[in-house]
Symmetry: C2
Subunit: 148 residues, 2 copies
Amino acid sequence: MTAKDSYILERQAGHLLRRAHQRHSAIFQENIGDAQLTPLQFAVLVKLRDLKEVSQNHLGRLTAMDAATMQGVIKRLASRGLIERRPDPNDRRRLILSLSEKGSSLVEALVSNGSGITAQTLQPLSAAEQKTFLDLLAKLAQLNGHSE
Amino acid sequence: MTAKDSYILERQAGHLLRRAHQRHSAIFQENIGDAQLTPLQFAVLVKLRDLKEVSQNHLGRLTAMDAATMQGVIKRLASRGLIERRPDPNDRRRLILSLSEKGSSLVEALVSNGSGITAQTLQPLSAAEQKTFLDLLAKLAQLNGHSE
DNA sequence: AAATACTTGTTTGTGTACGAATAATCTAGG
DNA sequence: CCTAGATTATTCGTACACAAACAAGTATTT
């Protein structure tokens, strides 16, 4: 076994994670049912549907986006009229985010597509493998034990 | 079970893949041993070490980058003097890429770090789980059966 | 040989990603 | 009260990611 054989790109976790993520993104784009909506934007809408109201930074932590990324995602959703922003009266640094009527009905219309996308992403695996995979993947996705 | 419970962001394959990839990127950056080098740039250097000479588009397929992304990655590596570009005499559309001396010694010095990064990425899993995970992940990473 | 089709590399435009710096605000400790 | 420290949102700069359009070159078809 030469040095050359000791590091094979195709066997590295990072490379495979990136490719699996690429494949998922392609499936998302084909099936979400709204050509403008991206995975991150959809994640924000879903979280807002669950929580009704959250500050921008807090929502960023819940969706695993840093503050700078969040800024752009929120700006684009707001410019489409899908979410509303208003200042927090108790903390003037904060922006409170919520779904607009339009945003709310859009999420409801698209959530089932979201489930289909996950199913299609995992389709190459059997039902048992899917469960195993998601369990292991969840262990690897712990960014650094920030719960909440 | 309400509609709200039927789509939980934290259980979606796409979200978990994204977070796992984020975690891997952070581990990469801390451990690769060259502050400027990114995961994609490293992948290009490793592939060039294995193949000696490849055209830019071909290398892009091997590392799963589209032509536009490749363009930027190669430009940055060339500007650091790590790779060399010369026209293919047999096909004047093509650019043939290869490692420079500097690039070659850099890869040799860093490959072992690459293995460590993969190990650390998978560390939350037992040895058996790691093998299972990589097998399943590889099945999900098949972009569309383009082999080569 | 000429027209058609495909490939290679580049550019443009939009959208993540994230480090770093900043201004405004809040919180805690003395 | 008041200052040192933390938090929130924004901006800037760099690096993917990829669709779309393009120029130049190669291949194929008739």
